[in-house]
Symmetry: C2
C-alpha cells in the first residue's frame, strides 16, 4: 500500500502555482528538476499550464488514474481536496499544508483522516515536506534548489518527524556524499506514522539501513512501534535519534510538535530491547549509518588500530576504551609477523604504528596480518595521506587486499578509517568511501562507528542470525551502489 507514496507512476500537485514564491510552484519545479520519471498533473482551477505542464481544475478532472496526491492548499480546503481525491480513486495523499493540530486545529485534522478512511486512502502529514526518492526523482519538498542540494541514490533511508531538520539533513547529505534510498517527513502523523514506514522499509530492496529522527511516538501507538522495530532490526539496522532526552528538551517538544516526549528511559529501554542503535546527534546518526550500510557488523568488541601517526593511535585507543571497546594486545606470533613486514622504528603492538616513514606496502601488509590473526573483530585504519611514503594508489591497494582476504577467509571483519587533513586528504578519503570504507574526520567518530557495528552485531548474535545476515551482506558486495 505504501508503494503509492514511494513509487507512484503519477502525481497530482494540488495547489500547484505559477507564482515562484508559492509552495505549489516549488513542488512542481522540484519534481521536474529531480527528473521524476512518472506523470505530473498540476491542479489549479485558475491555470491552464504550470511550468510547461497542462494543469487541471481538480483531481477528479484528470483523465487518468492518479497514484499520489500532494496537497498544498490552505488548511481549511484540505478535507474537500481529500474528498475529491477519494472520488477519483487516489489511495495516497501527502498533505504539505500546515495549520492543523500543531496550531490547535485538532478537529480539522480529524476530518482529513476520517474523509481519507472512507475511501481507503492513506495520508502522510499534514504539516510535512513529504518524500524524496532520488532513484525515481520523486521529490515533493518545496525548498529551492538554489539554496540546497539533494543527495543521490544510496543505501540509507531517513525518516524525520521534523520537516525543516529533515530537509537540512538532505542538504548536508548531498555535500557529504551520503546516498539516500528514501526520505520521509512525517509531520503531524495524523494517519501514517513511523511504524508504517518502518514496515515498508523492512521490505525495501534499496534500503540497507534505516535512520530516524523522532520526538515522540503518539499515545496508544507504542506497542505498534515496538512491533515494527522488532520486524525490521533482524533484517536491517535501525539507527534512531530521539530528542527530548532532557527535561528541558521534553518541554521544548511540547511546544514544537505538541507530542508528548514520554520518559526518555522508556525509549531507551525500547531501543535496547529491539536492537535499535541509538544516536546522540545528527553527525552521530549518519556516522553510524554509513558504517552499518557499507561494512559488515562486528562479531565482537576487539579493535585493531592501524595508524601512520602515533598520536592518533593513542587517541583512537582512548576513544575505543571510552565506548567499552577493547584494543587488545596482540599475540607474540602476530606481533612477530608484523615486525617482519614493518620498519624497525614501527610499533607492532596494538595500536599498530607504521610511522610517518611508512609506505603503502606497510599498511596493506599489516592489514592482512591483522585480518587473518583471528585476534580482532574490527579495524580502524588511520592513513596520513600527507606523508611522503604514502601514494595516491594506497586506497585502491588497501581495498583490494581487504576484499581478497575477506573472500579468502570468509571472515567479515569490518574496517573504517579516520583522517585529519584538507582537500588532498579528503579526495583520497572519498575514494575509499566510494569503495566501501567509511572515513571519518576524527578517531573518536571512527570509534563510534565501530561501536555501532559492534552493537548491531551483538543484536544479531543474540537473535542467532548473525551468520545469515553477514552472508547476505557479503553477497550484496561490500560497496553497494
Amino acid at each position: 500500500m505504501l508503494a503509492k507514496f514511494f513509487a507512484p507512476e503519477s502525481v497530482a500537485v494540488v495547489g500547484a502555482s505559477r507564482n515562484p514564491r508559492k509552495v505549489g510552484y516549488q513542488i512542481v519545479l522540484n519534481l521536474l528538476k529531480s527528473g521524476f520519471k512518472g506523470r505530473i498533473y498540476p491542479v489549479n482551477p485558475n491555470a491552464d499550464e504550470i511550468l510547461g505542464l497542462k494543469a487541471y481544475p481538480s483531481v477528479s478532472s484528470i483523465p487518468e488514474p492518479v497514484d499520489l496526491a500532494v496537497i498544498a492548499v490552505p488548511a481549511p480546503a484540505v478535507p474537500g481536496v481529500i474528498e475529491d481525491c477519494g472520488a477519483h480513486g487516489v489511495k495516497a495523499a501527502i498533505v504539505i499544508s500546515a495549520g492543523f493540530r500543531e496550531v490547535g486545529n485538532v478537529e480539522l485534522e480529524k476530518r482529513v483522516v476520517e474523509t481519507a478512511r472512507r475511501y481507503g486512502m492513506r495520508v502522510m502529514g499534514p504539516n510535512c515536506v513529504g518524500v524524496y526518492v532520488p532513484k525515481t526523482g520523486l521529490n515533493t519538498t518545496f525548498l529551492s534548489m538554489e539554496r540546497m542540494g539533494f543527495p543521490s541514490h544510496g543505501p540509507i533511508a531517513f525518516i524525520s518527524q521534523s520537516g525543516a531538520f529533515g530537509v537540512a539533513v538532505l542538504d548536508w547529505a548531498s555535500m557529504r556524499g551520503v546516498g539516500i534510498s528514501k526520505f520521509v517527513s512525517l509531520g503531524n502523523k495524523a494517519d501514517l506514522d513511523e511504524s508504517d514506514v518502518l514496515l515498508y522499509l523492512a521490505e525495501d530492496e534499496d534500503t540497507r539501513v534505516v535512520t530516524m529522527y523522532i520526538e515522540g511516538v503518539e499515545k496508544g501507538r507504542g506497542e505498534r512501534f515496538v512491533k515494527a522495530l522488532r520486524e525490521v532490526t533482524p533484517r536491517k539496522p535501525v539507527v534512531a535519534l530521539k530528542s527530548g532526552r532532557s527535561e528541558a528538551g521534553a518541554r521544548a517538544i511540547a511546544s514544537h510538535t505538541g507530542s508528548l516526549a514520554g520518559s526518555d528511559a522508556v525509549y531507551d529501554a525500547v531501543f535496547k530491547q529491539t536492537g535499535v542503535v541509538r544516536a546522540m546527534g545528527m553527525e552521530d546518526l549518519f556516522d553510524m549509518a554509513l558504517a552499518l550500510a557499507f561494512q559488515p557488523p562486528a562479531s565482537g568488541r576487539r579493535v585493531a588500530i592501524l595508524t601512520v601517526g602515533g598520536g592518533s593511535g593513542v587517541m583512537a585507543t582512548d576513544a575505543c576504551s571510552d565506548l567499552g571497546l577493547k584494543v587488545p594486545r596482540l599475540s607474540h606470533e602476530t606481533e612477530e609477523k608484523l615486525r617482519r613486514v614493518l620498519l624497525p622504528i614501527a610499533s607492532p603492538h596494538n595500536p599498530v604504528d607504521v610511522t610517518g616513514s611508512a609506505t603503502d606496502q606497510h599498511l596493506v601488509d599489516a592489514l592482512e596480518i591483522l585480518l587473518r590473526s583471528g585476534e580482532v573483530d574490527a579495524v580502524i585504519w588511520i592513513p596520513y595521506f600527507q606523508v611522503p611514503g604514502i601514494t595516491e594508489g594506497l586506497v585502491k591497494e588497501f581495498v583490494a587486499r581487504y576484499r581478497e582476504v575477506v573472500s579468502d577467509t570468509g571472515r567479515a571483519i569490518p574496517v573504517v578509517g579516520a583522517v585529519t587533513g584538507g582537500d588532498y586528504t579528503w579526495r583520497l578519503a572519498r575514494e575509499a568511501e566510494r569503495l566501501g570504507i567509511p572515513m571519518y574526520p576524527s578517531v573518536e567518530r571512527a570509534a563510534k562507528a565501530v561501536w555501532a557495528l559492534y552493537r548491531y552485531g551483538s543484536w544479531l548474535r543474540r537473535l542467532g542470525v548473525y551468520e545469515s545476515y553477514v552472508e547476505g551482506f557479503l553477497r550484496k558486495g561490500v560497496a553497494p551502489g
Copy 2:
C-alpha cells in the same frame, strides 16, 4: 629568548639539499613558499646553491649572524652541528632529525642538550617538525604543499607533542578556515617543553587562545607545568587535549613517545586547578578554541536557543542539558516581547522557535530581546539559510545588531551558531565566522563551545578577573584578524 624560535630574522637550514625527496630540500622550499620574510641560509658542504639560494658549507661559514638553526642531518652528526652553531653564536636550534631517545639513543640526545647548554643555546626537539608562523612565513615543516594546506594567520596557537598529528591539524585548519598564530611541534622535548612555550605564548600579542595536544609531561617537570598554566590562564584560555586517558591508551603512549602518560586523574585535577579547558578530541579542541578566540566568556550557565527549526531547538536543549548548561524558561515579560515581534505560529518559549516561515527581521529582533533580557548568559542561534524567508543579508544584519546591543548595554553575552546544510548554507556560515560568530555543523558541537565559554568564564570569575578580561576582550574587537 624564545623569540629566536618564533620571530627569527635569519634561519640556517643545516642539511639543506637539492634532492626533492630529502627533508632538507622540503624545509627550504616550504620557507620560500610560505614567504618567509627573513634571510635563509642553506647549509650543505657539497652544494653552492639550493633552490636559488647561496649555500654554505657550515653554519660558522655564514658571514652574518644566524638567529635560528634548523637541523636535518643524520642523528649522529647533530652534536657536531650544535657545536658549530654554538661557536657561531646561534642561540636557538630546532632539531628535526629523528633517531634519539625515541629509538633508545638516550646518550646521543643528552650530548645534544649538553653541547647546547655550554653555549647558552635552547633546543627544540629532536624528532619534531618545528614551527609554523603564518604571519612571518616561518615554516620549518617538511611536508609537501602539494599534499597539504597551511592555515593563514589567526588568533589560535597550537602546541603539539606529536609532529604528524600537528601537521595534519594544520592541513585540516587550512581547509576549515581556522587561523593560527603559532604552531609548535615539541618532539622529544629534550630541552624546550610545553611549559617554556606556554610562558612565551602568555606574552604573545598575536595569540588569544592556546591549544595543545600532549601525551605526557616529563618526569620532574610537573610543577613547572602547573606554574606555567597558572601564568597563562588568567590572561588567555588554554584548551588541552591529553591522550592516554584509558589504560590501553597509556600503554600505547609508552610505545609511541616512550613518555609516561601518568595517571589521567592527575592531569584532570591539574587542568581543573589551573583553569584549563579539557578537550576530548581534535574537533572538540578546535570547536572550543574558536569560541574562546572570537566570543567573550560566559558569565553563567543560562543559554537561550534561537532557532528556525523546532527539531534543532529540541536537540540543542538536550545537548545543553547533557553538559550541565541550563535552557531556562524566560520571564513572562520577555516572552511577551518576543510574541510581539514574532509570527503567531512561533514559540516565544526557550528554545525560541521562529519557525521556517520566519524572516531575517524575526531572528534579529528576537536576538536583541534575548540579549537585553538579563535572563541568559549565552545564545545559540540556529538559522536555516535554506528557508525562503531568510535572505543572504541575514548574517550582516544579525552581527550588526549583536554588536550594537553589546556596545549599548556593555554586557558581553557570547553567541555561537549551528547549521545543518550544504554549500550555500556554509558559504553564509563562513561569512558569520569572518564576522566573529563561530558556526558549528551540529547543535551538540555548538553546545560544547558554549560550555567552554562557561567553563572559562567561571575560572575568570573565581580569580576575580572576569570583568577585566572581558573589557580587554571587547577592546580588541569581537572579530580579531
